[in-house]
């Protein structure tokens, strides 16, 4: 992940010009970032090597546990089918995340406008969250004729709550003195929301978004397991089910890997987004030297 934090500014007294500390860069990436990338990569490669060795050394058959090389090979040979399914799973997850953001933020803004609205509706959001998605998924699949849409609804239910609850918390966490200041300058409700409450809520929202990003993928996969529908329009979860029935275990692992990697990519994208947005001001994105 590229580290784009600005060089720290050191100020000496009030009037001295700032001294800028330049960090050494290797291939355009700050030197301190390299270990963060290389160390986990090294551990990963080592683990894969041990796995491959154990599978070969013990002669474990591929229908019990395939080695990573065979899985990679399967991923290449079955890419046609798998990439189509990957695209379907990803599009459902991302659409669910987008709807979760839209509705979560709108609803929390509504909650922030009135304590009564929040008191009345928040418990139902909690009910939506605590009811296991596998238990509601069959109902949704029965009610909604379109499979893709029903999967999207399931993924949305799972992804929705962290955004709603975090953003609501953030909107209510605006600095009390700043609220007084806005009151002093006769700010309207809308001005206070736009210039104070929403920016205050941003770090909380981004925290919720990181959780929801992973959850929307999990929701999409779990719902598809329940739906269990086949055909050309099926996602990665169905590929896993299908491979299980057909005892094509390497393909099962390949699909599993693709789900994990998708989750990691979503997380990294959202972390980068969060870092880019907060890097100039929020504690979570600051580098400290003490």
């Amino acid at each position: 992940m590229p580290d784009t934090a600005p060089a720290p500014v050191i100020t000496i007294g009030d009037d001295a010009p700032p001294v800028v500390l330049q960090e050494r860069r290797i291939l355009g990436v700050p030197a301190s970032t390299w270990p963060k990338v290389l160390m986990p990569l090294f551990v990963g490669v080592l683990a894969l090597a041990v796995w491959e060795f154990l599978v070969r050394y013990n002669g474990i058959p591929a229908y019990i546990l395939p080695g990573p090389l065979l899985i990679a090979q399967t991923m290449v040979t079955d890419w046609g089918t798998l990439s189509g399914s990957l695209w379907i799973t990803l599009s459902i997850s991302l659409a669910a995340l987008a709807v979760a953001v839209l509705l979560g933020v709108s609803l929390s803004v509504l909650f922030a406008q009135s304590k009564w609205v929040e008191l009345s509706f928040f418990p139902y959001a909690v009910i939506l969250q605590v009811t296991p998605i596998v238990a509601i998924a069959p109902l949704i699949i029965i009610w909604v004729n379109d499979v893709k849409l029903s999967l999207l609804i399931c993924a949305w239910i799972v992804a929705f709550f962290p955004i709603l609850s975090n953003t609501t918390l953030g909107l209510n966490s605006a600095d009390h003195n700043l609220l007084n200041l806005f009151q002093l300058y006769k700010a309207t409700r809308f001005q206070t929301l736009l210039h104070l409450r929403l920016p205050s809520a941003l770090p909380y929202f981004l925290g919720g978004l990181k959780i929801s990003g992973g959850l929307s993928l999990i929701g999409a996969v779990v719902a598809e397991f329940v739906a269990g529908t086949g055909g050309s329009q099926s996602g990665l979860a169905y590929r896993i089910l299908e491979s299980g029935y057909q005892l094509r275990i390497p393909r099962m692992f390949a699909a599993l890997f693709m789900i994990s990697i998708s989750g990691i990519v979503i997380f990294l994208c959202l972390s980068t987004l969060s870092h880019m947005v907060l890097r100039r001001w929020h504690e979570s994105a600051l580098k400290r030297e003490n």
């Binding site: 500014v9 009030d14 600095d175 700043l178 300058y185 006769k186 941003l202 929020h282 600051l286």
Partner: protein, 278 residues
């Protein structure tokens, strides 16, 4: 010792109490919902272009009084009048005032200049003018080079300067300051004291300055209103006759010492009152 003993030479301040006040508190009381009587029967007139300090031990209601003057919260009894201020259709006064909190209270997500532009933005001033006036205010507090710095990149003293620039950008008639320098180190505090006096001396606004420091109040103000706790009330009102401009040499002058002694006595009296109430 009575209040009269503490008040020296009222006649030497013709522009002070005798003139038509900017703000006038009559019988102001504040009872909090938890039952604390924070203020009781406070009468206070503050004249145009005065520099008044509210001095007192913690819990004497000086910050509460300042907040009531600012219009943050309602007095439980009494009136706060602004004889010369504009009044809106409901008859509520619309005084031109600014408030500086004990903390810099900056928006961490906005650069220094954006923070200073805020009051103008909320008032619907055109963006070009917002920027120009905010830049001017930052220049006034010596931070012209830090327009684009974010609050976290600034030292404590610089943040407070930005906060003062934000208060000054609307060109208020009254500047209310709630222990603004209490959290700063002494060197920074002295420097900000000097700069604040220069700003005040160069223009025509009124300052009401809450502090618990005798030395700060004597250095800055023309008039020190001492308050006692439980219940919060005014117990002494003294003039500080030293002429302006006041600079570093004033801090070491016998006159400064004499005023500090009197202010300390008033403060001790305030503490005595509080203890007596127990």
């Amino acid at each position: 010792m009575s209040v009269a003993d503490l008040t020296l030479d009222t006649a030497a301040q013709p522009a002070g109490r005798a003139a038509r006040p900017v703000v006038s508190c009559r019988g102001v009381a504040k009872l909090f919902s938890n039952g604390t009587l924070a203020l009781q029967n406070v009468d206070l007139d503050i004249g145009r272009h005065q520099f008044v300090s509210l001095l007192g031990p913690s819990g004497c209601g000086k910050s509460t009084l300042l907040r009531l003057i600012a219009g943050l919260g309602e007095a439980s009894a009494g009136t706060i009048d602004w004889p010369d201020a504009a009044h809106d259709s409901t008859g509520a006064a619309q005084p031109s005032l600014s408030f500086v909190f004990q903390e810099p209270t900056l928006m961490p997500w906005a650069s220094a200049i954006k923070n200073v532009m805020l009051p103008l933005k909320l008032a619907g001033v055109k963006p070009d003018e917002q920027r120009a006036r905010a830049a001017e205010a930052l220049r006034m507090v010596g931070l012209a080079a830090f327009e684009n710095a974010y609050p976290r990149e600034l030292s404590g003293g610089m943040k407070m300067r930005v906060s003062i620039a934000r208060a000054m950008v609307t060109r208020p008639q009254v500047l209310l300051m709630d222990e603004p320098f209490a959290a700063l180190d002494e060197i920074t505090r002295f420097k900000l004291n000097n700069d604040l006096l220069e700003l005040w001396h160069a223009s025509s606004f009124t300052v009401v300055f809450v502090t618990h420091s005798v030395f700060e109040s004597v250095f800055l103000s023309q008039r020190i209103v001492t308050m006692a706790a439980r219940p919060g009330r005014v117990i002494a009102d003294m003039d500080v006759t030293a002429p302006y401009p006041r600079a570093a040499d004033y801090r070491t002058s016998p006159l400064y010492n004499a005023h500090c002694k009197r202010a300390s006595e008033a403060l001790e009296q305030a503490m005595g009152h509080a203890l007596g109430a127990h």
